[in-house]
């Protein structure tokens, strides 16, 4: 039975910390610009860092808030760039209404 203790203890600690983070992430949830979330979904999601940002989330913020071009993203497909541009245009028009 000796060999079971490491498994039980490590799994127990994992569950405790995981639950703590899950609860706190609900309590400390920050409402972000919805467009950032949508644009992040349209990016490949590899978090490769090829664009020079900290990850896909960082690039999505740059695209939405600073007007950076989606072709900073290296692995993205050409069609997808158009999809993101279309989406941002639409969102802008809806905002004006």
């Amino acid at each position: 039975m000796q060999f079971l203790w490491p498994i039980i203890i490590l799994a127990g600690l994992g569950i405790i910390f995981g639950a703590l983070i899950a609860v706190l992430s609900k309590v400390l949830y920050v409402q972000e610009d919805k467009r950032v979330e949508e644009v992040e979904k349209m990016l490949p999601g590899y978090n490769c860092g090829g664009c020079g940002k900290s990850g896909c989330h960082g690039l999505a913020i740059a695209i939405v808030e600073e007007g950076a071009s989606p072709d900073y993203c290296k692995p993205i497909k050409k069609e997808q760039i158009e999809v993101i541009k279309e989406y941002l245009k639409k969102a802008l028009e809806e905002n004006k209404k």
Binding site: W5, P6, I9, L10, L13, G14, F17, G18, L20, I21, L24, S25, L28, V30, S54, G58
Partner: protein, 190 residues
């Protein structure tokens, strides 16, 4: 008196950055401006204090009784990673500007060796819980102290007539070297 000597030795004599040479990545990476250096220092102080205390408790009351001390590194990393995740959510909620200034260096506290180093130092058997708590907190303050002074010095050297080839990181490394020499003079005090 004893407490004072613990604090002084953690801040000056055994300074994490310039005497133990732990955590030099954020030391060079986040010291470009005073504000982000201060924020990074506070975040690291917080993470070091809590992670070292939690590590001490887990090591003494869970790992030692079950004879699992060989698992200490993986358990400490679990503690540190969870704590950094939590502090990241706190900073994002309460100070978005600091969140942006720290950027990628905030999740990188996870891999800051000062944090894991302190956890490993305080469990060597000679520390009581209170000693570990105070020592790790003071070590965090030592980190904050040095990174803050370093950021001020770096801002000063930016306007100074430095030779072309030494601009930026090279002059920063020379500054750090001179600071380490000064800290090394404290070695005999303890």
């Amino acid at each position: 008196m004893e407490v004072l000597s613990w604090i002084l030795s953690a801040i000056l004599i055994q300074n994490v950055i310039l005497s133990r040479f732990l955590g030099t990545c954020p030391f060079l990476g986040v010291s470009k401006s005073k504000d982000s250096a201060l924020g990074m220092g506070l975040a690291v102080t917080f993470v070091i204090t809590i992670s070292a205390s939690v590590s001490w408790l887990l090591y003494t009351y869970v790992l030692v009784p079950f004879e699992l001390t060989y698992m200490k590194t993986i358990v400490f990393i679990l503690v540190i990673a969870s704590l950094v995740q939590i502090i990241e959510m706190f900073i994002k909620k309460f100070s978005p500007s600091l969140y942006r200034a720290l950027g990628i260096y905030l999740p990188l506290i996870t891999t800051n060796c000062a944090v894991l180093g302190l956890s490993s130092i305080v469990i060597d058997g000679t520390y009581t819980f209170i000693h570990a708590l105070i020592y790790s907190f003071a070590s965090g303050l030592g980190f904050l102290f040095i990174i803050y002074i370093f950021s001020i010095l770096r801002q000063k050297t930016e306007g100074a007539p430095v030779p072309e080839g030494f601009k930026g990181i090279p002059i920063a490394l020379i500054t750090a070297c001179i600071m380490a020499l000064i800290i090394a003079r404290f070695a005999g005090v303890a």
